[in-house]
Each structure stands twice: as C-alpha cells, then as structure tokens.
Symmetry: D2
Subunit: 137 residues, 4 copies
C-alpha cells in the first residue's frame, strides 16, 4: 500500500461548503505516481517509453471532505490480470473513510499500439501492494 | 439530450501527447449544468437551497482525445429511481466516440440531511432526456 | 479581439460562494487557443513544431464571479515586440468586467532553444487583435 | 518562510513535455494554506468568518518543470500594508528556481464588505515570514 497526503486547496472546495466531486479523480491520479514508477523507473512521461494506459476509473463518494484538514490517500492493487491491473484507492480524513475509487490500467506499447503482458518482476512488485481487508482494520 | 462543446485546453493534455484521463471528470461535471438547472432553476449553489449530491461517477476511456479539435459532450438520463438518477455521458471528437461516463446523483435535502423522492414535474423533465440508442445513430 | 464563452463549473467555485482565484488562469489559457492557432495552424502541441513559450502571467480580480451565469472572455493583443508579445484578457459576467489578465509569450524554437523574431505575416495577423480602448466602451 | 512539497501529477504536464503554465497558480494557492491559517485558525472557508480576498496574482516562468521529481514551494511575505499584504512564492525543482509568483491579498470583512486593518498580532506573525534575500542564498 502506498500512502500519500493531500493538502486540500480552496480550489478543491465548492460553494456547497465541501470538496467537489472532481477532486477525487485528481488526487487519485497524483497518488498513483509511485505505482507508475514501478512500471517506469525513470518516470519519463513520453509515448516513446511510457507503458501504461488508463481504460477505466470510478469513484464512490461516501462522506463529505472538508477544507482545513489533510486527506490521506491509500493506494492498493486489487487485481492483476495478464496485461491489465486494477488499482483500488481510499481517501481518509480525520480517521474516516470518505471516498474510494478504482482505476484499470493496461500495460501498453505506444510504439506498436499493442497490449503487453505484465513482466514477472513488475508483477511481483505489484503483488506487494495487494489489498487485503485486514490492512485497513 | 444536452449537447455542450468543450474547447480543449493545453492544460487538458499531458506529456503522452493526448488529453489526460482527469479531463473527462471535469468536462462531464461542467456538462451536467443544464441538468442541475432542472433541479435548481436559480442555480444557487449553496447548502440552504441546493438539492443534489453525487454518490458515484465512472469513466471509460475508449480512444485518445487530442488538442486542437473541439469535443462534443452529450448528456443523457439513463435511469430514474425514487430518490436517485443516473446520468450517462459521451465525449465525441471528430465524429468518433472517445469516452463515456456515468454519474449517480441523489435528490437530497441538505438541511435535514435526508434523501428526497424526485418530484413528479422534475421526473417528467428528466424523462425528456432519457437515453435511447437510436439517438446516437 | 477573440470572444469565448466559459460555462462556469461547480468545480470553479469555492466555499466562499464565488469563483476561486485559480479559475481565471485556467479560463484565460483556454481562451488563448485562437491566438495559438495563428502561430500554429495545425495546433500540434509538441516540442518539434510548437513555437510559443509562456514567460509571465498576471491577473487582477476586480469583482466576484458566480456560478449559474456564463462568463465571456475577451482576448486582445496589447503589445508586439521583436520576439515577444503581450496578451490582454478580460472576464465579463452579466455585463460587468470582473477580472483582467496579461500573458507575455515568446516566439521560440524548441529545437535550438532560441527566441525567434515574430514573422511579418503573423505580426500582421496579431495586429488585427490589438486592444483599443474604444472597443470595450 | 513556509515550505511545501508538490507531487507533480501527469495532469500538471502538457504535450510539450513539461509542466503547463496553469500549474503554478494552483500549486501556489495550495501552498498559501499555512498563511491563511494565520488569519483563520479554524480554516472555516465560509463568508461568515473568512477574512481574506485575493486582488492580484502574477507568475514568472523561469525554467521548465518536469514530471517525476518533486517541487518545493517556498512561501514568504514580501510586504505588509495597512489592510493588504503581498505574498512572494518560489517553485524549486532539483535545486533550481523554476518559477516565482506574487499574490496580493486584502484583510476583508465579508459581512459589511469592508477592508479591515491587519490586526497587530497577525502582523507580528506575518513578519516572521518576511522575505530576506539571504534566506535563499
């Protein structure tokens, strides 16, 4: 599991007095950085070398998130397929789970535009971050 | 169905040369404005009067979206329940469907923090925007 | 002068009940697209062909901007130098000037990392959009 | 001086291969949080109690910022007037100053819509963060 801390910005709030629904997708994307680094140690975000594409994201809004308190994002691997994997993420504030999300990514070769089976060493690294319910209890 | 046009910003792109996955959630939120207006004709976004909360969003990335060409967002109602409804949205560029999304919203009273059955007149209005496959052919 | 219409998003507001200061930089960037097109007719945003870099932006917040009403952005050229030019922009809502901004861009060759004198034909095109006070009266 | 660390997101980059000009305004806003806390210890971002409004921001883009390396934001007070003050901010990456910015804020009473002289205790607190050239040498 990867932990990252989000400093809520006034920009993240809306006039309803809480954090807008569009912040979770932004925070979760940022918090996948360490996961991207497993696939791309040099973190060179360019089509010649990058090897991941996003195919699906989803977000469940469980409780309101507020300005003035940091948010902790927990990032797990939920499932590993042959060429794709699912990321599961949680947003916690003041000890309470406020939102969750999933992202499905595919190991992809931008040069020939083909899916790539996830290499064994990367698979092993991903498995270290597999979600197990007891981790969050 | 509501149509809105997005002028893709350099901000929406990323170093992979296409639009970043985080743009769909932002564009789809903006494109739900006309839907929000059905529930809130005055569009006063404040807890005392606003009556919608977001409980779920999801996004499918079907094809790359590029800078330099406008994106058309089509916004439909997919399903209407007792207190909640599902929005279905599509992002088109250069005649091709590039991404889709769903958002589940609940009719909500912020003052007593309770779900509210969707009023009959609003339900009728929503029904005018129900998704029917032939509309997109 | 270029006109563009911004559909204010709930995302643009903050818990103070108005549009957050960070929206002007985003809206003004999007609204410079037609200006960028003068320099890059193909709008291919990649270092091999793109020819503009941003060196300075500034924003004056004159009055509050609200959700529920569209914002009109007016984009002018204020000054044209040898290799650089200044963009002047205004944000209007409900007939009132709410914010202004300036951006200084340089005509730049990314391949040899050198400034480029603005070509005569582009200069002529830019001059068509020069700010003249009477235009806004 | 306040230090904060920004985890650059793929969202912050653009197709030119670096961080987009619109990220500085977003990062600098987030990094002013600790400053806002001096004026608003409870950090309740609502018009009834909040006491700051933004009147001007500006940004100088000195060098490119890249994905894959964290950015350190340094936040200083540059000047303190009777009712307003100027924030000066720097963005550093890999030991190099990449961008700077200024923000002018006014101590403001939202209820009567009037400027307020900065209270003596807050002024003293702000003075602790005054920019002095030697700090960055």
């Amino acid at each position: 599991m990867f932990k990252s801390i989000i400093d809520v910005s006034s920009r993240d709030t809306d006039s309803l007095g809480h954090v807008n629904n569009t912040s979770l997708p932004l925070w979760f994307e940022t918090s996948r950085n360490e996961l991207y680094r497993i696939f791309n140690p040099s973190m060179e975000l360019k089509p010649e070398t990058w090897n991941l594409i996003m195919v699906h994201t989803e977000f469940d809004y469980l409780d309101q998130i507020y300005y003035g308190y940091e948010v902790e994002i927990r990032t797990y691997i939920e499932e590993i397929g042959n060429t794709s994997f699912t990321v599961y993420q949680e947003a916690w504030q003041k000890g309470k789970l406020r939102g969750t999300g999933r992202a499905i990514l595919v190991d992809f070769n931008f040069n020939n535009q083909k899916k790539v089976p996830i290499p064994e060493d990367i698979r092993k690294e991903l498995e270290k971050h597999l979600y197990r319910k007891q981790e969050v209890l």
